[in-house]
C-alpha cells in the first residue's frame, strides 16, 4: 500500500532525543494550566500516544497532534495515505474534545493556538518518549 516506507529496525530504534527535560517547565502558570488540561484529556481518553516503541510514538504524536493543530485553526488537512487518514481520525476526535472541554481555545488567535499545540506536542513527547521510564521503547522489533 502506498505511503509506507519500511525502515531498518536498528535505524528506527536509534531515534534522537528531542527533549532533555520537561519542556513545559519554563512556561508561565497560565500556559501550564492550559497544556495540563489538554494533557489530562489525552491521558484519560486516548490510546494513540502509547504505541509500544519510541520511534512509533514519535510518529503518532506528530501525526495526530499536528493534524489536531491544523483542525483547530481551520486549516485544510491533507490525507494522502491510509496512515495519514488514521492520524486524522484521532485528530478529529481530539479537536472536538478540546473545543468542548477547553472553551478558552475559542478566545485565542490562530498563532496562539498553534504555539500552544506546539508546547502540548513537546509535553506529550516528553511524557511518552524522551522522559519516559519505559525500558521497551528502544527495542528494535515490535
Amino acid at each position: 500500500m502506498a505511503g509506507f516506507k519500511k525502515e531498518k529496525p536498528s535505524a528506527r530504534a536509534n531515534y534522537p532525543k528531542l527533549h532533555a527535560s520537561d519542556p513545559l517547565a519554563g512556561f508561565d502558570a497560565a500556559t501550564r494550566e492550559k497544556v495540563s488540561e489538554m494533557e489530562t484529556y489525552i491521558m484519560k481518553n486516548c490510546l494513540w500516544q502509547f504505541n509500544s516503541r519510541g520511534w512509533d510514538r514519535r510518529k503518532q504524536n506528530e501525526g495526530i497532534l499536528g493534524k489536531t493543530a491544523q483542525l483547530l485553526v481551520g486549516e485544510e488537512v491533507q490525507n494522502e495515505t491510509p496512515l495519514d487518514k488514521c492520524y486524522w481520525v484521532d485528530a478529529v476526535l481530539l479537536s472536538r474534545a478540546f473545543r468542548e472541554h477547553c472553551v478558552w481555545l475559542a478566545g485565542m488567535g490562530k498563532d496562539e493556538v498553534l504555539a500552544l499545540l506546539k508546547i502540548l506536542h513537546a509535553r506529550i513527547d516528553w511524557l511518552t518518549i524522551d522522559g519516559s521510564l519505559n525500558e521497551e521503547l528502544t527495542v528494535q522489533n515490535y
Binding site: D22, K44, S52, L127, E135
Partner: protein
C-alpha cells in the same frame, strides 16, 4: 520514584521496583514500575507461561480448528475451556481439546511419530474439521521434535487439510505475553496471505485483539454490520482459520487488546500498509468515540452516530441506576493485562467507583503507562504481584470489590472481598452499550449481595440478630441514597439473560443494505 515496598516482600528487595503509588503531581516520567521481566525467584507469581499465552489466550478462540498440544496432557488440561470464548459453531473449540499425551518414554525415544498418529486420529475423528493448530510445549521443545516436518508430511498425505504450527513452549518468555508475541508473528509469517478473501463491502476491517468473551465479538460485529462494514476476520475470538489467512486485504485494523495483538497489527502495517486504529469497546463514551473513529475513517460517521444515539437512549438510564448506587465504591482493578487501562477511567467516569489499585500479571511497562495515566492520585500500581502482596494490598486498601482472575479471585473471596471475574466475566458480555450495563449490574450485585455480610458471621460463636429478616441488596444499596435517586423511576438492567442468541438469529435481511461505491467513487 514513589516505590511501594510490601512488608511481605522485604525479603525479596527486587520486588520494590515493581510497585508504585501515584502521588500528587506524579506523572509517567517519575512513576512507573518495572514490567515484563522474569519473575524474581522466591516470588510465587500468578502468571501463566508462554505456551498458555499462545494457546489459551490467542490460538484457541479460533473456532473451526482442531487445537492440539504436543506435550503432556496436563498442559492441555490447564488451558482447556477455562475462559469463556464462545463461538457460533456450537463451541467446537471449547468442547474438544486434544493432546498427544507425551510420556517419559517419548522423551527418551522421541515423540514425532506419536504426534503424526495423533494428527491423523484427530482429523479422522472430526472429518468436518479441516484445519489444525499444533502447539509446542516445554517437553517436546527440549527434546527437539520437528513439528513443522510432521505437519508438512500430514499436509502432503491429506491435501484437504491445513496445519498451523505454533512454536511457543512454556519457557519462551517471562510470562504468557511472550506467547502472545510468538503466535502473532507466527500466524503472520505462516498463514496471512495464503487465502484471497471475498470482499463484499467498500469498508473492510480486521477486528484484532478481541476474543469473544461471552459474546463480546458478536456484539461489536453487530455494530459493524449495522454500519455496512465487512469484518474480514477477527483475531481471534469466534474467528475462522481461513478468514484469518486473508487479513492482508483489510483496509483498516481495528485493535482492541493492544497487549496481546498489537504485534500483528504493527507488522500488517509494516508489510501491507494497513493502518492500526486502537479502540476501547468498554464504556459509553469510549465505545461511542471508537465507532465514530471507524465511521470517520470510512466517511460513514452518520451511520455510527445513529447507532450511538439509539443504544445510548436504550441503555444509559439503566447504567445511571447503578451509577447512583456505586458512587465512591473502592475497586481493585487487577486483571491480566489490557483491562487495567480499558476500564480504569471508564468505570470511574461512568459508574462513579474509585480505582484504588491497578495491577497486571503479564502486562508490559506500556500497559502500566496507560493504566497509571488513567488512574487517580493514590492508586497503588503493582506489576506481577505474588499472592502475599495481593493479600497485603487488600488488607491495606479495603476495597469494596475486586476485578481479577479466578485464582486471585478465590483468595479475595476468602478475605471476604467480593470478586468479579475480569477475564471470563460473571454475566457478560461486557462490551457494547448493553454489555456495559451488564457489567455495572454485576458490580452492583457483587458489592451489595447480602451473602457477603452473612459470610462474615460465625454462627457458632458470634452474636447475630435472630429477630430480623433477610436483607435485600436494594435495602443495602438504597439506605443512604439521596431522596431524588430513591424516588427515581429508573430501574436496573432489563435485558435478556442471553443477549447473544438474538444476534445469532439475525440474517442479512436484518441489516441495512448500503449501495456499493462505483469504481470512480472508490478511486476518489
Amino acid at each position: 520514584m514513589p516505590h511501594h515496598e510490601f512488608d511481605c516482600s522485604k525479603v525479596i528487595p527486587e520486588r520494590k521496583q515493581h510497585a508504585v503509588v501515584k502521588g500528587e503531581g506524579e506523572d509517567l516520567t517519575s512513576c512507573l514500575p518495572k514490567g515484563y521481566l522474569n519473575t524474581i525467584p522466591g516470588s510465587i507469581s500468578e502468571r501463566g507461561c508462554a505456551y498458555c499465552g499462545a494457546k489459551h489466550v490467542i490460538g484457541t478462540p479460533m473456532k473451526d480448528v482442531i487445537h492440539i498440544s504436543h506435550g503432556p496432557v496436563g498442559c492441555t488440561y490447564d488451558t482447556w475451556q477455562t475462559k469463556r470464548y464462545i463461538s457460533d459453531n456450537n463451541n467446537f473449540q471449547l468442547k474438544y481439546t486434544f493432546a498427544t499425551d507425551v510420556k517419559e518414554k517419548h522423551i527418551v525415544f522421541g515423540a514425532e511419530s506419536l504426534l503424526k498418529q495423533n494428527i491423523h486420529e484427530a482429523f479422522d475423528a472430526f472429518p468436518e474439521i479441516k484445519r489444525m493448530t499444533i502447539y509446542q510445549t516445554c517437553a517436546t521443545a527440549l527434546i527437539g521434535d520437528d513439528i513443522n516436518a510432521v505437519a508438512d508430511e500430514v499436509m502432503a498425505e491429506r491435501p484437504d487439510v491445513d496445519i498451523f504450527v505454533c512454536n511457543s513452549p512454556g519457557f519462551a518468555g517471562p510470562s504468557q505475553s511472550g506467547g502472545h508475541h510468538k503466535i502473532n508473528i507466527a500466524w503472520l509469517n505462516q498463514k496471512v496471505g495464503t487465502v484471497e478473501p471475498e470482499i463484499t463491502s467498500d469498508y473492510v476491517i480486521n477486528y484484532v485483539g478481541e476474543y469473544n468473551i461471552q459474546g463480546d465479538q458478536e456484539v461489536m460485529q453487530d455494530y459493524f454490520k449495522r454500519m455496512g462494514i465487512q469484518v474480514l476476520s477477527t483475531f481471534t475470538g469466534n474467528g475462522s482459520y481461513d478468514e484469518l489467512r486473508g487479513m492482508h486485504r483489510a483496509h483498516l485494523n481495528v485493535l482492541e487488546c493492544a497487549r496481546s495483538a498489537e504485534y500483528i497489527c504493527d507488522e500488517l502495517r509494516a508489510r501491507y500498509g494497513i493502518p492500526r486504529l486502537d479502540i476501547d469497546g468498554f464504556g459509553f463514551k469510549a465505545l461511542g468515540d471508537s465507532l465514530r473513529k471507524i465511521g470517520l475513517f470510512f466517511g460513514i460517521e452518520d451511520r455510527a452516530e445513529a447507532i450511538i444515539a439509539a443504544e445510548t437512549a436504550r441503555w444509559k438510564p439503566e447504567l445511571d441506576f447503578y451509577a447512583a448506587r456505586l458512587q465512591g465504591k473502592r475497586v481493585c482493578l487487577w486483571p491480566g493485562g489490557s483491562k487495567l487501562w480499558h476500564w480504569a477511567n471508564a468505570i470511574q467516569e461512568e459508574m462513579g467507583v474509585k480505582v484504588v489499585s491497578v495491577y497486571t500479571k503479564f502486562g508490559h511497562q506500556g500497559d502500566m503507562e496507560k493504566g497509571i495515566a488513567r488512574a487517580g492520585v493514590g492508586t497503588l500500581a503493582i506489576d506481577d504481584p505474588n499472592e502475599l502482596e495481593g493479600q497485603e494490598a487488600l488488607l491495606r486498601l479495603k476495597p469494596d470489590v475486586i476485578f481479577t482472575g479466578k485464582r486471585p479471585g478465590e483468595v479475595a473471596k476468602k478475605m471476604r472481598v467480593p470478586y468479579l471475574n475480569a477475564h471470563a466475566y460473571h454475566n457478560g458480555p461486557y462490551k457494547g452499550f448493553e454489555g456495559w450495563v451488564r457489567f455495572a449490574r454485576d458490580i452492583y450485585n457483587a458489592v451489595y449481595s447480602p451473602m457477603h455480610q452473612l459470610s462474615g458471621i460465625d454462627i457458632s460463636k458470634d452474636d447475630y440478630a435472630t429477630d430480623k429478616g433477610f436483607v435485600t441488596r436494594r435495602m443495602l444499596s438504597d439506605a443512604t441514597l439521596p431522596e431524588a435517586d430513591r424516588a427515581s423511576p429508573l430501574t436496573g438492567y432489563t435485558g435478556k439473560f442471553d443477549p447473544i442468541a438474538a444476534l445469532r438469529a439475525k440474517t442479512e435481511a436484518d441489516y441495512p443494505e448500503f449501495a456499493r461505491k462505483t469504481s470512480t467513487q472508490a478511486a476518489e
